[in-house]
Amino acid sequence: MKLAGILIMAVLVAAVLISGCAQQGTQVPSGGEKLTQQQIEEQAYQAVEEEMEKALENMTLEELENELLQQG
């Protein structure tokens, strides 16, 4: 009975891990495949979004108000 439990657990864990790997593999081409324009753009949008959030996280609303007030 215990053995059956362990076996089921092992199969479930392995299934979850394999599923994760399979998903990761579909995101980008492997080996000799070429990048598609969609993959390139997706990666670029992600990079720009991250860069923007990072650059703006220290720029508070108060700072923005001050800058706008200074401009009259």
């Binding site: 790997c21 990666q43 860069e51 650059a55």
Partner: protein, 301 residues
């Protein structure tokens, strides 16, 4: 019973190890990297309706040229993002010029829902972008304050690599002017460029690397990060030829709205007077960083 249990555990361990190795392989094979190589407008600000000034929204925007690579394959794209309040949009058909950024706006379903066009102008110590934004048939005046970026050493090194690739003689001269050469980019070609890139990635504060980065920026004033760097240099020494070029970029806004000059930073007022008074006299200004005289963009970017 015990043997069977041990066998199951052993199979499980072997399976996990195999899956782990497979995952590492997938990661190594398929690791895409994206690096920003040209920055347009990026910051936060306001969009104020032209028909009702009380109809306004906080916006965040970023335009950039991004180099995406997978192993030996590299592609360059111009993309952008816009946050209009809580709504997120993508910018396509992006154009990043000398002090200008424009694009069409697309929603999450891929529909074209508007456009944005901004020009930059110096205000205080910052660059501010002003222009118009049309979204879902409503037109707004948009104002964006350029956010200062912390540029990673790898990004700086990438720009230095590009400079040395497109201008090997100047690359060598700039290094010499700032000390000694890391290697000879004219004679050694790719291997030297790789060496300089690697050196500058590890030593971004080395005088030679800083001089090479500045030399790159002098011929890439369409990059907002470069304009920020050159603006700092011009505040300290307006005699550099590149200050005149920077002044010409910002002067486009003055030509559209002459009254803005009254509140312009002093350095820009001075350089603008020089531009208006005719060709630059030959000034024996000290070449602090690089003997870059023929400032044409040879990078093809």
């Amino acid at each position: 019973m015990k043997k069977l249990l041990a066998l199951v555990i052993a199979l499980f361990v072997v399976g996990v190890a195999g899956i782990s190795a497979m995952a590492q392989q997938v990661g190594a094979q398929g690791k895409l990297n994206a690096r920003i190589h040209k920055m347009g407008a990026m910051g936060n600000g306001l969009a104020i309706s032209q028909s009702d000034t009380m109809n306004f929204e906080l916006i965040k925007v970023a335009f950039a040229g991004v180099r995406v690579g997978l192993l030996d394959e590299t592609a360059e794209v111009l993309v952008g993002v816009l946050h209009f309040g809580e709504d997120k949009y993508r910018l396509k058909d992006v154009e990043i010029g000398n002090g200008s950024s424009s694009a069409n706006i697309y929603d999450s379903s891929g529909a074209n829902v508007g456009s944005i066009s901004l020009d930059s102008y110096p205000k205080g110590d910052r660059e501010v972008w002003a222009g118009t934004l049309t979204l879902n048939e409503e037109t707004y005046n948009a104002y964006v304050i350029q956010a200062p970026r912390v540029i990673k050493p790898v990004e700086k090194a990438g720009k230095i690599f590009d400079y040395c690739k497109n201008n090997p003689a100047k690359c060598k001269a700039v290094m010499k002017a700032a000390g000694s050469i890391v290697c000879d980019p004219e004679k050694e070609g790719t291997s030297c460029r790789d060496k300089i890139k690697s050196f500058c990635e590890q030593h971004p504060d080395d005088n030679r690397c800083k001089a090479l980065k500045l030399a790159y920026c002098k011929i890439h004033l369409d990059d907002a990060d470069c304009r920020a760097e050159i603006m700092e240099k011009c505040k300290a020494n307006l005699n550099e030829e590149v200050c005149r070029k920077l002044g010409n970029i910002y002067n486009k806004v003055v030509q559209k709205s002459p009254q803005v000059i009254s509140r312009a930073p002093q350095w820009f007022k001075t350089i603008r007077e020089r531009i208006r008074s005719g060709p630059e006299p030959q000034v024996n200004a000290p070449q602090v960083n690089a003997p870059v005289t023929n400032e044409t963009d040879e990078s093809g970017e």
